[in-house]
Amino acid sequence: MAELTLEPYSLKQRWQRKSGSGHWARILSEYLESLAQACAQHENSLIGHIKALALFAEGGCLSISVVAPGIPASTSGKDPECPALDLTLNVIVYGLPRSLLEEITRQAAFFTAQKWGLEVKNISS
């Protein structure tokens, strides 16, 4: 395989419940797993690490990590019943340009939010 380029993509998002319910660990795992699936569909890509840290307003954190599309996300930390969280996300994928990672992330966030009745906003990228 030719040498793979690496253009990491990072951003911060605020996730907020509108109408839905569901455990944050499950929702965010699904989000990162769908990101991994989408990245892996592109030829000559290699997922380094897709990882995120959710900070809850009430205190505590939840970390979520995905390394390959076929491997379930791993999570550790708290999973409290709370209405909102701030998420820091690092998408480290070899072989895909940052602009594509940005678009893949935007779509994955949109579909995850829609499915679970959530609102997601980028705080910074």
Binding site: L4, K12, G48, H49
Partner: protein, 199 residues
């Protein structure tokens, strides 16, 4: 001051092990400092470690094994002078070559290091792919290890663990290699293998 370098590709479990080791050493009344260098603009490991009340220093804007090697040495000296830790734990990014990090350490001019150890964590689920695609990096991570931990033993098939063991032993036949499931916590045996001076 003891120094522990964690090496391993992205997502192999370095942060999990670093947190567990740091917490175990702190519980034994020792001062621990963690130096983190991450890929990506948003530091996640340092935020997580701060949430867990660990003492973390972040090396920003570059890679610890190339552009930041001088920063690593100066940060170590500053840590030694200002904080005097018993253990400094270095967690480079998974793309860092441990050889370059270890190569920078002789330039450190603080209290002499009582011990220096490189622990490499391998991901058995992906090692067979990574060794094909990231060959020099993975070879270096294995060859520079003083101890090799094959993680995710709860997720890996026995063939994957066997392949990882073979790869580790082929490229570094001189060190202990252990399989473990870090999500189950750090056993006393594993802690003493990672931090032998503690016992």
């Amino acid at each position: 001051m003891h120094l522990l370098l964690f090496s391993g590709f992205l997502g192999s479990g370095k942060t999990t092990l670093a947190v567990q080791v740091a917490q175990a050493v702190v519980e034994r009344g020792k001062r621990v400092a963690i130096l983190v260098n991450e890929i990506g603009e948003a530091g996640i490991d340092n935020q997580l470690m701060r949430q867990l009340d660990l003492n973390v220093w972040e090396l920003l804007n570059g890679c610890i094994c190339c552009t930041l090697s001088a920063d690593l040495v100066s940060t170590l000296q500053k840590l030694d002078a200002d904080y005097a830790p018993d253990l400094v734990l270095i967690e480079p990014s998974g793309a860092a070559d441990p050889h370059s990090v270890l190569h920078a350490l002789p330039y450190y001019r603080g209290r002499p290091l009582e011990s220096q150890r490189c622990v490499t964590i391998l991901d058995p689920l992906r090692l067979h792919v990574l060794i094909e695609v990231m060959t020099p990096l993975i070879h270096s991570q294995i060859q520079n290890a003083d101890f090799i931990l094959i993680g995710k033993s709860d997720l890996a098939q026995s063939e994957e663990l066997e392949t990882a063991l073979q790869i580790a032993r082929t490229h570094n036949p001189f060190v202990d290699v252990v399989c473990a499931d870090l999500t189950a916590g750090l056993t006393p045996e594993l802690l003493s293998q990672v931090v032998p001076w503690l016992s």
